[in-house]
Symmetry: none
Subunit: 228 residues, 4 copies
DNA sequence: AATGAATGAGGATTCATTCAT
DNA sequence: TATGAATGAATCCTCATTCAT
């Protein structure tokens, strides 16, 4: 569904045309990005070939270069698009009127739902972008920071709402958020692999995890090697 | 420190020889694996070149092929070695005489310590191996399953010890372990990036996280969207 | 100054139009040739791209093809135009009423002045046209022959005027003229590079050169290896 | 004669081998340079293809890259080799024991002889190198400066020997030498094109030219527009 | 009169891999 | 045990040129 072959799109009224139809640039560009996300996501940056991408997009290679300049810049464009889509999905999944714990829950669910529905895009962000040098890495780091910040803030808010008081120390929350996001990413991969584990379940697991950890944190209960 | 240029290692008894000394196969193989881990870890599979690996190992390319057959099999060898090393580090870091929560704690610490000390090997296992087809992926999946099983078992034991009773449901623990490993991986990256956050702190954060989640799970306290 | 962007030329009466105005074919063609001369002159035939030329001319590529058919034929058109311009400049710089030595002098001056003012056109004629196959080479050969003939004739005339008699042998004069033109080309490059050497000076150097050689020729003084 | 196909060189004792024989690097490198000079000389830098060069050299393209790194650097190597060869030919053609006018004569003859015998190398130096950016241009500029300096010095010496006194002004001699070298280059092209004009004749023409111009210079006879 | 959309063909460069010694 | 010599097969990218409007 991500990728639509030009033949499908252009095959109007049984003309039997073999050449891809002329299409406005914006449409073609989207097709190319769709194809690129798919190939990059499955193969990784280096193993993906522009030939394959062009073919999947249903256009000739020069057109890909004409519109997207280079492999590197095509990859960056993929990252940017997928990162935005993910960020937006999370943002839109959250109703700001709800209490913080519900917001956290819904954010997690939106995250899992979106990554499950866009496994290639998610693979690009999660696995492949980190390998590349600056341009892409920066893009992804920004996304991750955005999400981490979002989570950090939710945790703080939830802590205040649930327990009153000033909330836990900045640093501790940062670690918690980091762990939470990492766990989410890992669970996303797990959930995507194992078809039977749905977004809801993953979100619930994580929420339990987070909620309890948070509660302990607030209550000052910390496990430490000496304690027992 | 991982990688030792052959010249250094082989310069015996001031012969003034410029060519790398003849060395027993085992030594040469280790040099090659060291080099390969470094290059694969930093560049990824596709972007790593056999030329670069051979040069870093201080030998000619044909020798690499003589000993390790192909790029693919060299990569697999790297994965196997690094996976074993990691598994062993975790196993050795744990004293079986201790109570379960201490064992969990020490396992986590060993994990973080080892990955921090072998970033290239860790990158291979964590980032690059997944991209490759079967041979490598299987290897890593085995490692991951091993660790997950180990953690699962520790959790079960800890739960029994701490709370009595039969322990939580298999499935829930699987999700928990998965999340825990993901969080650990994420924290490992965080800890490695941000120099000031040492293995200890990461382990502590995670332990708090896990412990509380676990307690809740045992006590039947679960967060659920309807609850509030 | 050679090249005028279409926007500047066509921006009439504040219409606010962004598209290049419709213009009579002759004007468009001149814009294209201006752009082509600039690009060809600076990059050489192969390294010049039709894209760049079209962009500099401020039109779309298909229009260039519509008016000038192909890269090859565009190049030929450039050569033709620049060759004519140079020939004309030399012809117009010479007053036929003057004695032959003055005519030669003025021809040289006109040559240096024109080439200095049209470095790109000169580069096309002098450097790039020779590399191409027949169509262009012939065009340039014609120019060169024209100039050489012009010079040959001047030399003959000057010889007659200065010394009386039938003038030197055809063949010798051909060599002399060839050398003179070559020297002129070389001096043109030198004069263009070293800003301080103006057309006048270059012409003077050459004139001295030629005049003396000519005198010797007439007087039958020839250097020969055996002579000393 | 410049280029030797590997088949010829390697076909020992009627083995009928079709694959090019293994050869020491130095030999292969020379073959590649021979081929490259030929192709670059005939087509120019851009129009020359590495494919064609490799084929003419009788090796595969990767080997060319292995030994000579890139098209650019192959081109530079050609320039360097041909420039050195030419400079050496001129240097070796001149007997330092002879008087200056004879030395000039012999230098010119050697120049014409060498360029006539190595038309492709000469084309590279004279026509194609100038088009390319720094690396090549610098190399050629150095050659040209070397030759110009050589000629300048000869002129000064000849002037002193022939006429006594301090010799003409630096600046005038520079112009003269520049013109002389340009004329020589032009005559070389002429001589090479028109088979019937041999090195001797070209050298003689030029020598007459130079000698007379020099005499005039020394005697203070200068043509000037006002003079007549 | 003018252009946005599109491509076939080719060119430089790299890489995993193999011989012959 | 070890290597210098060599290559088939991609891969990224560019360019002259055309078509449909």
């Amino acid at each position: 569904m991500d990728v639509v072959r030009a033949e499908d799109a252009g095959a109007a009224a049984g003309t039997g045309e073999r050449r891809p139809k002329r299409m406005p640039r914006a449409v073609r560009e989207r097709q190319m990005l769709d194809a690129a996300v798919r190939i990059f996501g499955r193969r990784g940056y280096r193993a993906a070939s522009m030939d394959e991408i062009a073919e999947l997009a249903g256009v000739s290679k020069p057109l890909v270069y004409l519109y997207l300049n280079s492999k590197e810049s095509l990859f960056t464009a993929c990252i940017r698009r997928e990162a935005q889509a993910l960020a937006e999905a999370v943002r839109e999944g959250v109703d700001p009127a709800l209490p913080a714990d519900r917001r956290l829950w819904e954010g997690l669910r939106a995250f899992f739902t979106h990554t499950a529905e866009h496994p290639d895009g998610w693979a690009i962000l999660h696995r492949h972008a980190r390998t590349r040098g600056e341009p892409s890495a920066a893009e992804v780091a920004a996304l991750r920071e955005g999400i981490t910040a979002f989570v950090t803030e939710l945790i703080q808010a939830a802590a205040r709402e649930a327990h009153g008081g000033p909330g836990p120390a900045e640093r501790e929350v940062a670690g918690l958020a980091q762990a939470l996001v990492g766990a989410a990413e890992s669970l996303a991969a797990w959930a995507n692999t194992d078809g039977s584990v749905a977004a809801n379940e993953a979100a619930a697991t994580l929420m339990n995890f987070a909620w309890a950890g948070l509660g302990n944190l607030m209550a000052g209960h910390r496990w430490s090697p000496a304690e027992r």
